[in-house]
Symmetry: C2
Subunit: 732 residues, 2 copies
């Protein structure tokens, strides 16, 4: 095929030169930012070394060059091979066994997984299954199961959702019914795990279909007395250790192709009276004895909240990933926009403009670039805050008898950070999913190619707005928490308000107090564009907006209920506004944290003034862009005048001008290698056009000449004249 | 596989009953609307009959049941087989030969293509290649080529874009150089078609890669005197009629996998000094004689604009398709939301709510449902308007010597409809692409499944925001036209303004006059929610917004140039605002036309009051939703007060309440059969859960037990213990 095409497509001097020129214009040192993102200079070196183990692996199994041409089944099989080779590699260098003496996901192992730049069907074993055992299994169970997990004897998944039931856990139908020894159970008693209906089939759990041999099944516990004790976790062996065949009564398989993430075997499982040992129920918080008597263990409120923090940590990880995917997209789109040219500069029609010089292109790409930095800092801070709360909960649960402290942290602080993580998960994944698709569109036709690197990234990312709390549902959780704060302000509960001051929601207290006291006419006091260009002006605007929207919904619901509506109906009628509140809360947190973190990193000496300056431009673009986008929220109660709106629009343009010369360097700073980027458009050297052509030539459709289907079908039409019109046929 | 699963999954009584109940609540007759959408009762019957030819075809080749499991190559081959069978079928019933005596796309053939519910690699032959010959070939060329096209001897594509060049046609690099007979050309002279660089390789044309044997190549014409005459069209045979092998000097192939539309072989082609006859240049508007002398034919301005109308008709078709894809998405999402339940109704935790009862779900789905109706009416009106202009251009070009009339129509009317089609193409495809993805997300996890029907529809649709004028570029063209109107108002050009009154932009004249006269403080005069709920209030608001934004950008550019900026820079600085103007123009046109068309259809007796009423609810929802969404535009210059904003929000909620009982009937009215919908979630009978499970079971990953890859790879890890940790390895 393609025999007349230059087999070594000439590098395009022009596009290569374009990127070199862009890099020469940068006003800062990208490596400093790389180190900041990795955590330190040493961390960057370590990461690069681990990445080289993958790219230089002599087996060649880690190559992704053929991914886009492969059938789903073949990709799944190949990624199993990748996993096995990765473990072999890890074991030869002592990585992935345990970390700090514990069986958890080793950070180095995680870096290696990311270095693959491909999905693994085994991913959720470490990310969901093992943490579940750690948080819900008792000590004996952990001691028994975790080493099997580490050694990949036990490969597990977390099986919660059912065909007819998503996030409403209380509606799950799968049952685990206690069976005493004397009634036919095994010695010590058994559980009979059963799927009573079609809609109760477990559906969606990753790794469940083909790869795993165990599932942590969430099922309704029916105790020895026949009492339904609500949902609990049960470890069900689904396949034999010996030959991976299905265990008795278990049916499972893959749920079929998806819009993305097709390497993963999301699975279904139907349990037909499957018998498992009594001790396969996770027994950290509740136990069932050999007679089937159910009892909750006495644990402190703090202890019970610890597993709750785990869920939030998963959300924090999702926020971190939203930054990563935006970094990938920005790298592809900004580099390509610097070498892609369209529209003549002048009447001589000699040179075309770099796409990156068009304002509407900058307006599509730069705010997303800024978001990728913003979300990074937020995810970092969020993880730190969660870690701190988790440690305090541990210390409380380990005997600190300060009941008052326990109440504070469990009642309000956990709520506060729950509101933040929910709001951030919802907002950041929405921005990332929409953003990478918009960056793809900003690459024109070539963005539609798999070889651009966008399609697989986008399609696989699309699960994120849905999983771990649907982005449309989370705002309700946010508002539920924040309305408690409004009520505390309204009722003047000074003690609670002191506790709220320890949370991310503290910024809402003062403006809410003002509003409760009848002052609802606060205005932005910037009186010129120059005055407007100040982080504190944005800060105040975001603060005011969030408080106002929250206050209004609080009043609306109260009023509706007073007017005789059922609470559920009043709540339903305000759902749309809750989405706005959640976004507004998020917008404040993101901007505030972005500005603060830059300051902190500078004070710690992690960045020099040159980097601090360019990061501040990103923060100010981020801040002004999101006000511009939701300007109605600021105009509606006259907090802003039309002049303020005009200033904001100018500021966005100004910030884009500032960022333009550093745009390519800002994506270089992400240090995403070509191996990880997998993008013909985003290549580091800018030599995009030969890469596109080379990718085209490798498509299996081009393997024969003429193409497949000609001889069997098309020829019948062109040469054979299939069913040629006869003159006698009249129109139907 | 799945041997323990019920092989005949029980129908879920509940979900089936849900849809029956929904249908019983409808206040109108869906069939009336179906007829309206099809054009008439007879048209509905005809369409349904043609669809049955496909679904009942005895060969079974048209089944789409296995599509989602197939490798791209296999799907391409299968769709070639579908095309051949379709032609055989058509020829047996006299369809697709010609229509009204002309060789054009037969509407019945088009209905059959749509009935396939699958893409064909041959689609662009009728949609782009044949129309190009008809509009740019001279009579002799048409007489020679069109019968070959009709008979599928000649299968063609339209080859414009190049690897390095998209919509900037003037930058194309491919050359067609005249070669006289005496210099080695064929008798009468030849063209040497050549790709001089890597970036000049033709890239993207559909059907070019594997299926077509001809390409209409857009290339720079170098005449016999060596003068570059700009781009012209040349018919290049790429493959032999006899065996489909590549012609001398031609290299072409498929460009590789894309995010969607993978049945189509978008192709690349490199021409290495390919010799074609002189008369393969399309010679309707310019000729080159045997000596290579180039001359333009004398054609009237009207004639030259006719082919311009063809481009706009393609855009009108794209607007029509944006409605269709929203209908598909609405059908899937609304039916599924009526049977999907989540969240308990009350404390007894017996019954869960229908998702469709949640306000934020309605807020995601109903405005898109409304948009699908709105875009339908707009596309219809747009086509009618284009047809009318085309006919007048034809009559002018056929000798009507009214030069004045010709000037009017070519200078302003064509401009006006160009602005409308550009704005509508950009807006409607953006709303549709974002909308169907949001409807997918609104289906939760199951929307992520290919079996939901969303993924393929979405991914293949994603080309639309990019092709035929990138959605980000089109607003510039809109504003370029509309700024002429502003200048005519500013300069008081009464004669031109009379002409503008014949265009879609006429509504802008009066408010612009006001603004030019210094009155920029117009306000909305509705003083209560009841007064606000009036189409004329929305109408005025949309009118005012569009005029204001346009006026401001006109002034801004003038001012910037006065202040010494280059025009190009002033233009660039206003690009972002141009996007807003284009949307605002569109919003007026869409709402205005929606309301008008409902009135007209009612007056014509095509709908009864029951249907008129529900269509009006959709129109009012559409109108209020888009004001709510872009409320800042109406608040910024104080046209709206915060009270108005509050009224609008209430109205949106009220309209959703009105639409709720009719929601399922409104998608039933689209009459999209299960065969065409290809969606487990959107099934007409509501029996979704068995359909999901059946689709899962058929995935090839489930063909063996244990799954593929276990014996070759996973077993090595679980049983073989690949590279188990030895006690002596220290951490790298």
């Amino acid at each position: 095929m393609a025999k007349n095409l230059p087999t070594n497509c000439p590098s395009s001097e022009k596009t290569i030169k374009d990127l070199l020129q862009e890099r020469s214009k940068a006003t800062f040192n990208p490596l400093k930012i790389t180190n900041l993102l990795d955590g330190s200079q040493e961390a960057t070196i370590r990461r690069q070394h681990l990445e080289s183990l993958i790219t230089k692996d002599p087996t060649g199994i880690f190559s992704n060059d053929e991914n886009m041409y492969m059938h789903r089944t073949d990709r799944h099989v190949r990624s199993l091979a990748k996993h096995v080779r990765l473990m072999e590699l890890c074991r030869s260098i002592g990585i992935g066994k345990e970390y700090n003496g514990e069986i958890v996901l080793d950070p180095d192992f995680h870096i290696l997984i990311e270095a693959l730049a491909d999905d693994l069907p085994t991913y959720l074993h470490w990310v969901m299954f093992v943490p579940n055992i750690r948080s819900l299994g008792d000590e004996e169970q952990q001691a028994k199961w975790l080493p099997l997990c580490r050694d990949w004897k036990m490969i597990g998944c977390y099986a919660q959702t059912e065909l007819g039931h998503g996030s409403n856990v209380r509606a799950l139908e799968t049952t685990a019914t206690f069976l005493k020894e004397e009634d036919g159970g095994d010695p010590g008693g058994s559980w009979i795990v059963h799927s009573p209906t079609l809609t109760s089939i477990k559906f969606w759990p990753g790794t469940l279909g083909r790869t795993g041999n165990h599932a942590m099944v969430i099922a309704r516990l029916i105790d020895g007395q026949g009492v339904d004790r609500g949902v609990h976790n049960f470890l069900v062996q689904t396949r034999s250790y010996k030959d991976h065949t299905l265990m008795k009564g278990v049916t499972c398989g893959d749920i079929g192709p998806k819009i993305g993430y097709n390497v993963m075997d999301n699975g279904f499982a139907k349990f037909d009276q499957v018998k498992i040992p009594r001790r396969n129920m996770a027994m950290r918080f509740a136990v069932v004895d050999e007679q089937g008597n159910y009892s909750k263990k006495t644990v402190s409120e703090a202890t019970s909240k610890i597993s709750y923090i785990t869920m939030m940590q998963v959300r924090a990880m999702i926020v971190r990933n939203s930054s990563k995917v935006l970094r990938m997209g920005s790298t592809m789109a900004i580099r390509y926009s610097a070498v892609r040219r369209q529209g003549f500069k002048d009447k001589h029609m000699k040179e075309e403009n770099q796409i990156l010089d068009y304002k509407q292109q900058q307006h599509r790409l730069f705010p997303l670039l800024a978001a990728s930095y913003c979300f990074f800092f937020t995810a970092k801070k969020l993880s730190e805050n969660l870690k701190a709360i988790e440690e305090r909960l541990y210390s409380l649960s380990n005997g600190d008898s300060n009941v008052n402290a326990e109440e504070i942290i469990t009642k309000i602080e956990v709520g506060g950070i729950h509101a933040s993580t929910s709001a951030l998960k919802s907002f950041c994944t929405t921005v990332a999913a929409d953003g990478i698709e918009d960056m793809r569109k900003a690459c024109g036709g070539h963005g539609f190619l798999q070889a651009s690197g966008f399609p697989e990234m986008i399609c696989s990312y699309l699960q994120n707005p849905t999983v771990e709390g649907d982005n449309q549902m989370l705002p309700m959780q946010v508002v539920k928490v924040l309305l408690k704060l409004v009520n505390d302000v309204k009722s003047g509960n000074t003690k609670n308000l002191e506790d709220w001051r320890k949370t991310d929601a503290k910024y809402l207290i003062e403006p809410l107090k003002e509003m409760v006291n009848g002052n609802t006419s606060t205005k932005c006091n910037a009186s010129s564009k120059e005055e407007m260009m100040d982080a504190s002006v944005f800060h105040n605007a975001y603060q005011h907006r969030a408080a106002r929207l929250l206050f209004e919904v609080s009043n609306k619901i109260e009023q509706d209920v007073k007017n005789g509506q059922k609470f559920e109906d009043a709540w339903n009628a305000s759902l749309i506004q809750m989405g706005r509140i959640s976004k507004a809360h998020c917008a404040y947190l993101l901007f505030d944290n972005f500005v603060q973190c830059i300051k902190e990193e500078s004070e710690k000496g992690n960045v020099s003034p040159a980097e601090e300056s360019v990061l501040n431009h990103l923060a100010m673009l981020y801040g002004s862009y999101w006000i511009e986008k939701e300007i109605g929220d600021f105009l509606e109660d006259k907090y802003f005048t039309s002049e303020h709106a005009a200033y904001i629009r100018s500021l966005v343009l100004e910030m884009m001008d500032k960022i333009r010369p550093n745009a390519v360097a800002l994506v270089d700073a992400f240090d995403i290698s070509d191996f990880r980027l997998k993008s013909a458009l985003g290549k580091y050297d800018g030599d995009v056009y030969p890469a596109i052509v080379e990718a085209a030539k490798r498509d299996p459709l081009n393997a024969s000449e003429p193409g497949p289907g000609y001889k069997e079908h098309l020829k019948d039409l062109i040469v054979g004249g299939v069913g040629v019109y006869s003159g006698t046929v009249s129109r139907l």
